[in-house]
């Protein structure tokens, strides 16, 4: 079992009526990886996750979890998930819900550890309908990991959280992923993918448009920013420097978007324009925007 992959999509397609939500999705996730599924709203993230969990059957192609069907993997207690737009069961306490979920799995997490990890110790006797949005998300997270699943799936888990809750949430998630489990999460917060994932899969229009480590994706777009003080002789000609793709003036500084920061900086030095140099690598967000914009333009063309 150890050498099978955790997740395998093979040419999976799904339509809602005439609308293609997911087209020919091919994606393999080896055991132990933490993967972020990144994409704009309507990109096909939730549909892909629903197919992954066996909640939707692909129109064509197939989905395998640990070398078997999603239904069998669920039945074996290997899957835990936090789904979007799920409300918690009314008239039950946090402790009762978690005791129930733990009882379903062959090797559940001890209750104390679970409550501590999800920061729920104080709320154990609270009824689920009385929780705030952030508290509910923590309970859903706890319910997802209560059975110590080999694959943890989180569909936009931080959508309803404030900044501090998000920070605590990802710390708890990384602790769980650190125990060697496979985690797949979807988000539209780029920085979450950058900070918490080993691998980022960008999807738009139902297709994968980029797949790699956060660093590799940043590099794939390859745009760095080179900033210097505005030259005394003005900015004319800067756009003709090697590797420069765009020039932007902000206050008394000029920022050059560059495909090759080394070549641009060298040319600036030769021209005697190096004053207050600042070089910044591409942010994942820039790369993501570049990728998704290209893909949308491609689709419109």
């Amino acid at each position: 079992m150890q050498n099978t992959d955790a997740v395998r999509f093979c040419s999976a397609c799904f339509h809602y009526g005439p609308v293609r939500a997911v087209s020919d999705l091919d994606l393999t996730i080896p055991c132990g990886q933490t993967v972020a599924l990144l994409g704009p709203n309507g990109a096909g993230k939730s549909t892909s996750i629903a197919m992954l969990l066996g909640l939707l059957a692909p129109d064509s192609g197939r989905v395998e979890l640990f070398g078997t069907t999603p239904d069998r993997a669920s039945a074996a207690g290997r899957i835990g998930a936090m789904l979007q737009e799920t409300q918690l069961l009314p008239r039950v306490t946090v402790a009762e819900l978690l005791a129930f979920v733990r009882g379903l799995y062959p090797d559940p997490m001890p209750t104390d550890e679970l409550l501590r990890l999800a920061d729920l110790t104080e709320l154990a006797d609270r009824r689920l309908e009385k929780l705030s949005g952030g508290q509910s998300q923590r309970v859903k997270f706890a319910a997802a990991i209560a059975g110590r699943p080999d694959l943890l799936v989180l569909d936009e888990p931080t959508a309803a959280m404030d900044v501090e809750s998000r920070h605590d949430f990802w710390r708890a998630m990384r602790r769980y992923a650190g125990t060697g489990r496979t985690v797949l999460f979807s988000t539209h917060y780029v920085e979450e993918a950058d900070e918490s994932a080993d691998r980022v899969v960008v999807i738009a229009g139902g297709r994968i448009i980029a797949d790699g480590t956060p660093a590799a994706i940043r590099r794939s777009v390859g745009v760095s920013s080179v900033g210097v003080a505005v030259p005394r002789g003005g900015t004319a000609g800067l756009d003709r420097l090697p590797a420069v793709t765009a020039v932007e003036i902000r206050g008394d500084r000029v920022y050059l978007a560059s495909d090759d920061a080394d070549a641009t900086v060298l040319a600036l030095a030769q021209a005697g324009l190096l004053r207050d140099l600042e070089v910044r690598g591409a942010r994942l967000e820039d790369a993501y925007l570049a990728l998704t914009t290209d893909s949308l333009e491609g689709a419109a063309a």
Binding site: S74, T86, R91, L97, L104, P106, A143
Partner: protein, 243 residues
């Protein structure tokens, strides 16, 4: 499965409004109808027994069917999808839910029988009481499963009216509101095939010190099989569509 059953029973006991509602209707109807039929002496006693079984059954069936409405809520709030990705399989979900529905039917049976004994002067040997109450309770199983099937199958806004329609039509056709012997011939034949008829008739036979008819038992058991299958299929389908 016991974990799921415990969870659902807790939720049931914490919905006093639903349980009270399940009690009120048959109690009021029982009191009103026995006084309408009236009569005196042994005839009055027979009517009281007959109607006690009918109304206890009517209350139990209503509560068991209505229990299906709680799975409609599970569907719309996403809990059903969450359950589907746990190791809990469809059969065990449906059985636990069915047992919860049966439990919801129990207060109505006990209340109407209590009222029958205390207010309407129904007297039977203790063994008959136990058998009547026990069989009314066990016999509610097919209706609990039918309620679930509706809850899992029918669209969310339609589930409530469909449940109510089933409750009323099954109660009338099965002779719970008026004896099926008063029906015209064709309707009487149909009535015998409706699960409510056999359900009440089994307990009625015992209450009148006679053996239950095997055909009634067979018809009720047949419906139990049909509704169980339907509920399991409906659950699987609902889990798949609820995205």
């Amino acid at each position: 499965m016991t974990g799921y059953l415990t969870l659902e029973i807790r939720r049931l006991l914490r919905s006093p409004g639903y349980l009270m509602g399940a009690l009120a209707m048959p109690l009021v109807m029982y009191l009103v109808i026995t006084n309408l039929y009236g009569g005196s002496g042994p005839e009055r006693h027979q009517t009281a027994i007959y109607l006690m079984v009918s109304m206890a059954g009517f209350g139990a069936i209503g509560a068991a069917l209505t229990n299906g409405m709680s799975v409609v809520a599970d569907r719309s709030n996403g809990w059903l999808r969450q359950l589907r990705i746990t190791p809990l399989d469809a059969r065990r979900v449906v059985i636990a839910r069915g047992l919860t529905g049966m439990l919801a039917g129990l207060p109505g049976i006990l209340a109407v029988c209590g009222l029958g004994g205390a207010v309407n002067g129904v007297s039977m040997p203790l063994t008959h009481w136990v058998a009547v109450i026990g069989l009314l309770w066990l016999g509610v199983a097919p209706f609990a499963l039918l309620g679930l099937a509706v809850g899992y199958l029918v669209s969310v806004p339609a589930a409530q009216p469909v449940t109510m329609l089933l409750n009323i039509s099954l109660s009338i056709l099965g002779g719970l509101w008026m004896p099926a012997t008063a029906f015209p011939h064709t309707l009487r034949t149909i009535s015998h095939l409706v699960p409510t008829f056999g359900y009440a008739n089994i307990s009625r036979q015992i209450a009148f010190d006679a053996a239950p008819h095997l055909t009634d038992v067979a018809v009720l058991a047949g419906w139990l099989v049909v509704f169980t299958g339907l509920a399991v299929l409906a659950y699987r389908r609902a889990g798949r569509r609820a995205v």
